[in-house]
Amino acid sequence: MIRLAVIDDHKVVLDGLVNLLNSELEFSVVYSNSNPLTIDFSQLPKIDVWLIDIQMEGIDGIELSKKLLNLTPDYKIIFLTMHRDFGIARMAKDLGAKAYLIKNIDKIELIQSIKSVDEGASLFNLSDLNKSSQIGDLNAKFIINDLTNRELEILQHIVGGLSNQEIGDRLHISPRTVDTHRTNIMRKLQVSNVASLVRVAISNGIKGNI
């Protein structure tokens, strides 16, 4: 019997996964939670394999896994995510997770993967993933919520291809002030150049203001 824990902040997905996994004779889902912030680490049952979503409200799967592995290095962690992202997969592998699965896999693949991981396999098919993306995109969504209205406004202009001077002209502030805002935004989104800033903004649904 493989004891499973499933964490996904989408309730329907979570319920579906739990049902699907419990219908397997060899699996027993002993823990599931759709709000990772409420996990009580001191009250966990014995768990062999964790199935964890990556992008979640409050705490992302990567951070959660770090905590779990700190607590119990024997945990076998599988990420089940929509992010076809080389950088994130790399990060997952480096922190000691056992598998990185994309959510479009079918039931049989999922079940087989869990069994393999339980037997000690490591499943990272990094060549399938998008290499051009970078570590750092993952948390941007949460951080974009931390931007002030002014910063968001300026970010939309940056995505729209405007220079500091042009943004300053539109908003009736000095280019230097725009530059300060831009520096702050870049720091918050953890990027080091404007091109990356644009990429992260677009991938998080920021609409350009042309």
């Binding site: 051009s132 995505v159 729209g160 291809g161 405007l162 220079s163 500091n164 001077q165 042009e166 150049n193 404007v194 091109a195 990356s196 644009v198 990429r199 677009i202 609409k207 350009g208 203001n209 042309i210």
Partner: protein, 168 residues
């Protein structure tokens, strides 16, 4: 006359003249070559043509290049050629003058606007060298597309070049 001028002065004049011819010829060859569609672009399109360009550049220079092409629509051949030449010129400028270690090139769209961002982390463009032939040819290409060119540069803080044009 020759005696009056002295031999070295005649040589100087000639050298000057030859030099002018040489510069003219070089520029004409350059203009001609720039009006031709590079094989990589005509064969596989702008996206892959640029990828090829960057890859070759990375093999020669010690510059890390990140490149992202995010356009769903396919651009008209003359626009593809224009953009290719612009990026080629920007790349050459960066390689030759900027002393950068990183280049970030991104092409994407917002509504019907195509936006190109070319950014390096080099020494920046100063007033004295901003009128170079490279930038002039870029500016004229941008103009033919009714586009806008902006250059944002501070000493030792890199350069961001943005080119925008509408495809409607």
């Amino acid at each position: 006359m020759a005696v009056k001028h002295g031999i070295s002065s005649i040589d100087d004049d000639r050298i000057k003249k030859y030099n002018e011819i040489l510069v003219d010829t070089t520029m004409e060859i350059r203009d001609l070559s720039h009006s031709l569609m590079p094989k990589s672009v005509s064969k596989s399109g702008l996206k892959l043509g640029l990828a090829d360009l960057f890859e070759r550049s990375q093999e020669i220079h010690n510059i890390n290049i990140a490149y992202r092409y995010d356009l769903e629509i396919s651009l008209a051949p003359d626009i593809q050629l224009n953009l290719f030449r612009i990026v080629q010129e920007l790349l050459q400028n960066a390689e030759k003058h900027s002393k950068c270690t990183e280049i970030n090139c991104q092409i994407y769209s917002v509504e019907t606007m195509i936006i190109l961002i070319f950014e390096d982390n080099g020494i920046g463009i100063s007033e004295s060298n901003s009128e170079g032939i490279g930038l002039i040819s870029i500016a004229s290409r941008v103009e033919t597309m009714n586009g806008k060119l902006s250059i944002e540069s501070n000493e030792n803080q890199g350069t961001i070049i943005r080119i925008k044009f509408s495809i409607e």
